[in-house]
């Protein structure tokens, strides 16, 4: 009798576990148009997503932060690999990240960084792992993807968009992000889905962020866009 109850509880526990893994399957961002482009209308959890960026020395951190924030369940932890120590924490905190739930990784070399990223991805307590990765071999890319599947969190890797550097990947989606000319009030990026089974590959979006409030939104189509306010700058 005792064994029976124990077994029943075990069954319930495994059912709960299954349910939780289902719950982690995917997440949606606040931008509905972005979700629609992504495969099956959402970003897959337990997978790696790559953000490709054409510049050499900068990274699309704002968009990585958007995705990491959406992937983070309430109270989930974000692991951010920042070897240069250049991530500005007050800005991150103002964007709504609780610094208590942010682990900063400062790896001295590439081997350590890949190991640490894989460890974070493999951990169930980490919702999103963010990092900048240059080159990946096929095996390393696959290893990171498998680690994400085991942990259920999301890997968000910013990679340079250059032939020969980011050839190998095992990511669920790859996004090409490019800066677009902005305005006095707005900073803009275009975001295009390069790879993603079931997604609208090749479709691009124009995203913009308000320079005062840092509100990230979809750029209105050109025809419906409100007229730009006259520049208040006084020419001295």
């Amino acid at each position: 009798m005792r064994r029976m109850t124990c077994k029943k509880e075990l069954c319930r526990a495994s059912a709960a576990k299954h349910e939780s893994s289902v719950r982690r399957q995917s997440f949606r961002t606040a931008l509905e148009a972005l979700n629609e482009i992504a495969p099956n209308g959402a970003f897959q959890g337990g997978a790696v997503h790559e953000l490709l960026w054409p510049r050499q020395s900068t990274y699309p951190k704002s968009l990585a932060l958007l995705l990491a924030g959406s992937a983070q369940k309430n109270g989930g932890t974000i692991a951010w690999s920042d070897p240069e120590r250049e991530l500005y924490l007050p800005a991150l905190s103002a964007a709504g990240v609780n610094l208590r739930n942010l682990i900063l990784l400062r790896c001295a070399n590439r081997a350590d960084q890949l190991w640490a990223l894989a460890e974070c991805l493999r951990c169930r307590g980490v919702s999103a792992t963010v990092g900048f990765i240059q080159r990946l071999s096929q095996i390393e890319a696959r290893r990171l993807q498998l680690a994400a599947e085991r942990g259920g969190g999301v890997g968000l890797f910013m990679r340079p968009y250059a032939p020969g550097i980011s050839n190998y990947y095992a990511a669920a989606t790859r996004w090409l992000i490019q800066p677009a000319p902005g305005s006095d009030q707005l900073q803009r990026w275009s975001m295009e889905l390069l790879h993603g089974h079931g997604g609208q590959v090749g479709k691009a979006l124009l995203l913009e962020v308000d320079r005062e409030t840092r509100a990230l939104r979809l750029s209105a189509p050109l025809a419906d866009r409100p007229a730009a306010p006259p520049t208040a700058r006084a020419t001295a």
Partner: protein, 443 residues
Amino acid sequence: MALAAARARHTEVLDFPATPAADLRSLEAMGHWLMRFSPGVCVYPPSSLFLDATGLERLYGGLENFRRHVAQALASLRVTAAVTIAPTPGAAWALAAFGKNGSHIVTNEQVLPALSPLPPEALRLDSKTVSVLSALGVRTIDSLLQLSRNDLAVRFGPTILMRIDQATGSVHEPLTYLVHRSPIRATLEFEGAIESLDAIHFAVQELTRQIAAQLTARGQGARELRLTFRQPYASPVEKVIRLVRPCRNESALVKLICCAIENLEASEGFVAATLAVVAAERLGDEQAALIGGEEERDAAELDHLVERLRARLDRGVEWGELLESNLPENASRCRDNAGKADAPSARSAVDLLRPLRLLRQPRSIKTIVRPSESRDGEPVSFADYGEVHRLDHIRGPERITGQWWNGRWKTRDYFDVLDAAGDRYWIFRVPQSGRWFLHGIFE
């Protein structure tokens, strides 16, 4: 006397807040240290320690030598202490606290004569009893002993009789001795220098097994481990492994240590390995979280992750913390443990205007400025590493001034600029020198 009055009388008065808990901790630490003289040490707060001197004459060649050893050791620690030896703890305390210098060692026959001239406080009575006794004119223990025992018990309760009996030795006084803490450590010496990873892993497993057994016996879990590898012709290699929560699980510890020794460097192999527990904490038997408690399991897994990362990356795992400072580079700092939950700050409105990436050192850039009469024109373009950015949209300036005690040119005028390609930068000018710097990038 109030503190102000005391200061007025003696200008050299130093005052510190009372810290009874910390005092007790350091008294206990001293008790552990004094275990080198006697195996039985008892802490008697607020400021006394009892050492069991039974049977130590043979070891030290007489009680006088023993007393001298202890007194000299305390003096070398710059601790002012009165050390007396008596047949009972009560008598020893009375003589140490109130005895005039002279009789440091009292034998059984000398107890009563030695105690007689001392005031009744020496019997460890509470202050109320002492004040009533002094009001009654009882100034010495001698006169106290003249009184009838029955009257004393009726007037002051049973405690006073117990204290008298404890001092004279009619009643045994039980002491609670400190428990001896031997360090938990295990050492393995190899016959020759070993280099192979397999052998090192075997050694780690063996050491961890011994450590785990010792921890289990004490009901403790390790919080910090130190692994030392001795090399034949070089200084030892040391690895410190810190754990987030106490642990004595053998396989978990082995995994953690293997993470830590992953990038171990040895030119000629190792001749010995030592694993020591630096800090341990009480740990109950762990229950495997089999049913429910997913959050708890996630938290435990996160703790294990942090331990593994720390073991391999050492200081490479950090948490951020906001500070109150208007200088952008001083507004946060990193620490190697998770801090308290950060309170929502009033500065977050300003922080919205800050870039996500702040260069560690502002980088000097060459900037072309719109012509103006004074030197505060807006930037038109700047060149960074030979790359020219033509600036389309400029916001600013936002003036930030550094601390007045720091440096000469501390005023900066920040501009938030967007170049023609759509990249956004945070640059500033030092008005005094007219030089421009790139400080952040809105990525």
